[in-house]
């Protein structure tokens, strides 16, 4: 089979069978790309993974672009990215159409009234894990809290926060030199 088609189908399968966001895809991508197809060594896989995490954007998309680029250049990236994006695009589109037709339905409304508070909790849970891996301690916990308050209370866009922190850190890094 042609590489582009095979890559597209492999990533389509990964996109279709991982529930719970981009990071849930890592073990599947590893199994397909490193073990089954042997397209990449494990070291290359980890390198590309940390690069994809460091850069902005949707993690699974970044990762697909890098793997595709390493294997077949820009056309490889396009094939793998199309594969990883297509299932969620189609499924969410169907859900959106269904949902805007049934949002006022009493059953749907009752279900989502129960689900909404749980969703807030599900977003709070990774704060702890993410905080640990970002080395947040009692000494520097004021920093993420201050940022959260700037956004939640003053309504400042996270885009400006990211730009301001990056510029500040860059200037500080220059200053240290």
């Amino acid at each position: 089979m042609n590489f582009y088609l095979q890559g597209f189908l492999t990533f389509l399968k990964i996109g279709l069978f991982t529930i719970g966001g981009g990071y849930a895809m890592i073990p599947l991508i590893e199994r397909e790309v490193v073990e089954r197809r042997q397209w990449l060594s494990r070291e290359d896989f980890l390198d590309l993974m940390s690069l994809s995490q460091a850069l902005p954007g949707v993690f699974a998309v970044n990762f697909s672009i890098y793997i595709g680029h390493r294997l077949r250049g820009l056309r490889g990236s396009l094939a793998l990215t199309a594969g990883i994006v297509l299932p969620s695009f189609v499924i969410i589109l169907l859900v959106a159409m269904f949902f805007s037709a049934f949002a006022d339905n009493r059953v749907v409304e009752a279900i989502f009234r129960g689900v909404r508070p749980a969703v807030v909790a599900l977003i709070a849970v990774p704060c702890i894990k993410l905080g640990k891996s970002a080395h947040i301690t009692l000494a520097n916990v004021w920093f993420p809290i201050a940022i959260a308050l700037l956004i939640a209370l003053l309504g400042i866009s996270p885009v400006y926060i990211i730009i301001a922190v990056a510029l500040g850190a860059f200037a500080y890094g220059k200053f240290l030199q």
């Binding site: 009752a110 989502f112 920093f143 885009v159 926060i161």
Partner: protein
């Protein structure tokens, strides 16, 4: 021009959404809910719930969903809604392609530069702050009810919030199962 605005908004989200997944949520929320009012806080919470229980990355899911709903809410047809989700989804992916080309050609040389390292070190705790902001912004009357209007709903909401937090954090209940359980609770208690 709605489509242009959709494109530009999701392009920005793709360009500045550091930390992936959940960390992108507050970026999406800030743009789509707070500044453009394309979705309400409840609709946003619904997308997160749907994204958790369907395949695919949350950044793509919310772009597709917000693209469709914002266009249909403006009074366009469902077909135009499909165009809207296509525009938003392509826009959120595009910066990644541009950045890859940039990284492979130019940035790679500066990757180990001390200034670049300082920037990434500062962005990591920032992303935690963004995630915390998403939690705070979602704690509204729309999502929890208010104790003044309906003590019963507010009490249930607080209980479900605590149960979902404790269940996923300490008892490793999977998020999908948690959402399904709370959906069942909602159905039984509110219908």
């Amino acid at each position: 021009m709605l489509f242009l605005e959709l494109f530009w908004t999701f392009f920005k989200i793709g360009l500045f959404g550091f930390g992936g997944g959940y960390a992108m949520l507050s970026m999406i929320q800030g743009e789509v809910v707070t500044s453009h009012h394309w979705l309400t806080t409840s609709q946003f919470a619904d997308i997160v719930a749907i994204s958790q229980s369907t395949p695919g990355p949350i950044g793509i899911n919310s772009a597709t969903y917000a693209g469709y709903v914002s266009v249909v809410n403006e009074g366009y047809s469902a077909a135009m809604g499909v165009v809207g989700s296509l525009v938003a989804t392509v826009a959120v992916v595009l910066p990644s392609f541009l950045l890859v080309l940039l990284v492979l050609s130019v940035l790679r040389r500066y990757w180990e530069h001390p200034a670049a390292k300082t920037v990434f070190a500062a962005l990591r705790p920032t992303v935690v702050g963004l995630l915390l902001a998403a939690v705070l912004v979602l704690m509204t009357k729309d999502n929890f009810g208010s104790p003044a209007e309906d003590m019963w709903q507010f009490g249930i909401s607080i209980f479900l919030f605590v149960a979902a937090f404790v269940g996923t954090q300490f008892f490793k209940v999977s998020p999908i199962r948690m959402i399904l359980l709370c959906a069942l609770a909602g159905l039984l208690l509110y219908y």
